[in-house]
């Protein structure tokens, strides 16, 4: 390794700065999925929905103390800040330091728990062992009952992963890149099989644990908040359809709780990485998350939203709106009769408003005013619904008409799109539109002539 060794005795402050800075590209900071009361001996409980404790300057939630155990790494993945060939300050926490930080922060209500990830120090086994020790100390010595999210290190001994899983609430293995091909190019030391192996192990163990819990209610719980993963978007040339298909199969085949998408931030100057003059692909990431929600809560499938022919999301419309515009034959739907599943597919109606509608219409029929009060976004929904057989205004169920009107509403688009993609009224003096040579000469003649006339007039 080329980097200079930093003395082990770095102050905790320096370590925290280095190791939180190195952990910030991990996306997941959720603390949801476990409901647990205080264990009676120590500190901490878990709130089922998760709690956000602060928001950083980039608008991302801070819920857990997100740190790496160490940013030393034997691997040289090209997209990673901590790759072995980078000359960055290196630091390693001791398990005791982490425990003190967690308890100190938790008592002051700064955090909901710990998110512990790590670079690979010496070997995957060695690193996993250190992660286990930290968690063990926290749970048994400090009786910490808060949330813990820990990374399973691919290539580590399955026995170590299992032992760690009994101490954590959530485990995750990073998928890193959406396809095996991308992984080969940017992270040659990792392979798809190696990453999927611990993921499968955690899934199987969770299933077994469910049976154990059915038999003995007080059996120890294995990863009660489920497992998640994340992948980097935009570092490799995959399209949205490929990414969504991967996510869908992860949800279905690996029973994941969440898949996170992380817009690629170019931290290393490397010829294998794309240059991103416009910054990280945030809009793309946003569309992927929207589609992810459609998969998990709205009963959509990846194949409905995208296809081989249309492999990328529409930048102007959210995926659901886009889907609805392509399936106008299914609309409009009658609010007072449509099934819950159908309501969920209407743009402008979310899970909450759909539930409210279904509950409220049992006690009396609903009108547009009621919908508005219940939180339905009428400016989007009105083209797709009827109440008591009527639409809100006389509208045409026609793709062009609805597209134009929806665009006029202007969804919150990023500033670079807001100005030039929306429709504008044609202007005679539009300098954006090049004129033909004939037109130019006509215009020049006219203006010259009129100028002459004025000049002549002035003379008279």
């Amino acid at each position: 390794m080329q980097h200079t060794r930093i003395p082990e005795q770095l102050p905790v402050m320096e370590k925290l700065k280095i190791l939180s800075d190195a952990a910030k590209y991990d996306v997941a900071c959720t603390s949801s999925g476990t409901a647990r009361g205080n264990n009676g001996k120590g500190i901490g409980n878990c709130f089922d929905a998760g709690i956000c404790h602060s928001f950083a300057a980039d608008g991302r939630c801070i819920s857990l103390l997100k740190i790496l155990l160490t940013n030393e790494c034997i691997f040289n993945c090209r997209y990673c800040l901590n790759r072995s060939s980078n000359d960055v300050p290196r630091a390693t926490f001791t398990p005791d330091e982490i425990c003190d930080l967690v308890i100190g922060f938790y008592r002051r209500n700064y955090i909901e728990g710990l998110f512990l990830s790590s670079g690979i120090l010496n070997s995957p086994d060695y690193t996993m062992e250190l992660l286990y020790q930290t968690l063990y100390k926290l749970r048994s010595q400090y009786h910490f009952g808060g949330y813990i999210h820990v990374k399973a290190i691919p290539g580590a001994d399955p026995f170590l992963i299992e032992k760690t899983g009994f101490l954590a609430d959530r485990m995750s293995v990073n998928l890193e890149l959406p396809t095996a091909e991308g992984l080969r190019r940017l992270a040659p030391a990792k392979s798809r099989e190696k990453i999927l192996k611990p993921m499968r192990q955690v899934q199987n163990r969770m299933e077994e644990n469910r049976e154990e819990l059915a038999l003995y209610r007080s059996a120890p719980r294995f990863v009660p908040a489920g497992q998640s993963t994340q992948m980097i978007i935009g570092a490799t040339p995959e399209n949205d359809f490929q990414i969504m298909s991967v996510a869908e199969s992860l949800y279905k085949k690996f029973d994941l709780k969440r898949v996170f998408y992380s817009a690629f931030v170019r931290v290393n100057d490397d010829s294998a990485l794309p240059a991103l003059p416009g910054g990280p692909p945030l809009l793309r990431e946003h569309r992927l998350y929207q589609a992810d929600w459609l998969l998990r809560f709205y009963g959509f499938e990846a194949g409905e939203l995208l296809s081989e022919d249309r492999p990328n999301f529409n930048i102007l419309f959210d995926p659901k709106c886009d889907w609805a515009l392509r399936h106008l034959e299914l609309f409009p739907v009658e609010i007072n009769r449509a099934s819950y599943q159908t309501l969920l597919r209407v743009p402008g109606i979310g899970v909450k408003s759909a539930q409210r509608i279904v509950k409220a219409r049992r006690l009396g029929s609903l009108d547009f005013q009621d919908l508005k009060r219940m939180g339905v976004v009428l400016k989007r929904a009105l083209y797709f619904i009827t109440c008591r057989g009527r639409t809100l205004y006389p509208i045409k169920i026609e793709e062009d008409y609805i597209t134009r009107n929806l665009l006029y509403v202007k969804e919150k688009l990023p500033p670079e799109l807001r100005d030039d993609v929306t429709y504008r009224q044609l202007s005679l003096f539009d300098d954006g539109m090049p004129l033909s040579v004939e037109e130019q000469s006509v215009l020049l003649d006219v203006s010259a002539g009129s100028a002459a006339a004025f000049a002549g007039g002035g003379a008279i």
């Binding site: 901490g44 709690i51 956000c52 404790h53 300057a57 980039d58 997100k66 409220a360 049992r362 009396g364």
Partner: protein
């Protein structure tokens, strides 16, 4: 002629009002509930002041729980924490509706009814505020190991959030003070918590900080700074999710060297204040 029952602005006050209004047998159409502090009075009304009675309030709440279910009970509790002029009457109408339906549990779902909708909206607002405060509340350790937190929310959520901290920080002595309402929740290590209306001074000035307090605060501020990705900087989004009004009491928005509450003098937030 309408009779207006004026009750104390608290859960118990409103529930006593519900009891009295019902008990007066004037007919539901002829009574109205209002909380204290509404200064515009109506003509052609008779005003009657309700004296809060814990026993009556308890009876009403029990009935709500039994006949209308846990969801309705929760809605009533949370809605009464909101600063809203119509809340007392809406709660009354909700209870009247719930007790008249064959299945009282359906009442909270009847969102076509304006009173039910108002209670539901208020419930959501107070719940949202309480949930945010669960995260944004900051304790500071005083000399002697007592954890002390200050807040000043527009909603009376202290009794709603205290049980959460009583469970979470079971082995700690802590005090949460609502500075706007002069209320405090006090918890003794290993025991239970109680609410006091005492006029507490700023305990930080009296007791002083614990030895390690400043160090942890600096560590936390450093963490919050380094965890943000510069390329994704988005103060607007941050402010939507964490409005400015919470920040004066939050550790990470105080300057490193500064006095408590120095947020508004901090030049780092100039741009935020302008937008």
């Amino acid at each position: 002629m309408t009779t207006v029952f004026v009750c104390e602005d608290s859960l118990d006050g409103i529930l006593t009002g519900v009891y009295e209004a019902w008990d007066s047998r004037l007919g539901h159409g002829n009574v109205k509930l209002q909380t204290e502090g509404m200064d515009t009075m109506e003509l052609f009304c008779e005003y009657q002041t309700v004296r809060t009675d814990l026993e009556k309030a308890e009876k009403v709440l029990r009935t709500v729980k039994r006949r209308m279910g846990e969801k309705a009970r929760e809605a009533v509790c949370y809605a009464s924490a909101c600063p809203d002029s119509g809340k007392a009457d809406a709660i009354y109408r909700l209870i009247v509706l719930g007790l008249s339906l064959p299945d009282g549990r359906q009442a909270v779902n009847r969102l076509q009814d304006p009173a039910v909708l108002l209670v539901e909206k208020l419930r959501y607002k107070a719940w949202h505020e309480a949930e945010r405060m669960l995260g944004f509340l900051r304790f500071e350790e005083l000399a002697g190991g007592v954890l002390y937190a200050r807040m000043n929310p527009p909603y009376a959520i202290l009794p709603l959030i205290a049980p959460h901290f009583a469970d979470r920080l079971l082995q700690e002595n802590w005090i949460i003070q609502d500075t706007g309402r002069n209320q405090a929740a006090v918890h003794r290590a290993g025991g239970s918590w109680f609410l006091t209306d005492a006029d507490l001074p700023d305990l930080r000035k009296i007791a002083g900080y614990a030895e390690t307090e400043k160090e942890f605060q600096t560590l936390w501020r450093a963490f919050c700074k380094s965890i943000a990705i510069e390329e994704r900087r988005n103060p607007r989004c941050q402010q939507t999710l964490l409005p400015l009004r919470f920040r004066p009491d939050m550790t990470e928005f105080q300057p490193d060297s500064g006095q408590p509450g120095a947020f508004w003098q901090d030049s780092r937030f100039d741009s935020l204040r302008k937008s």
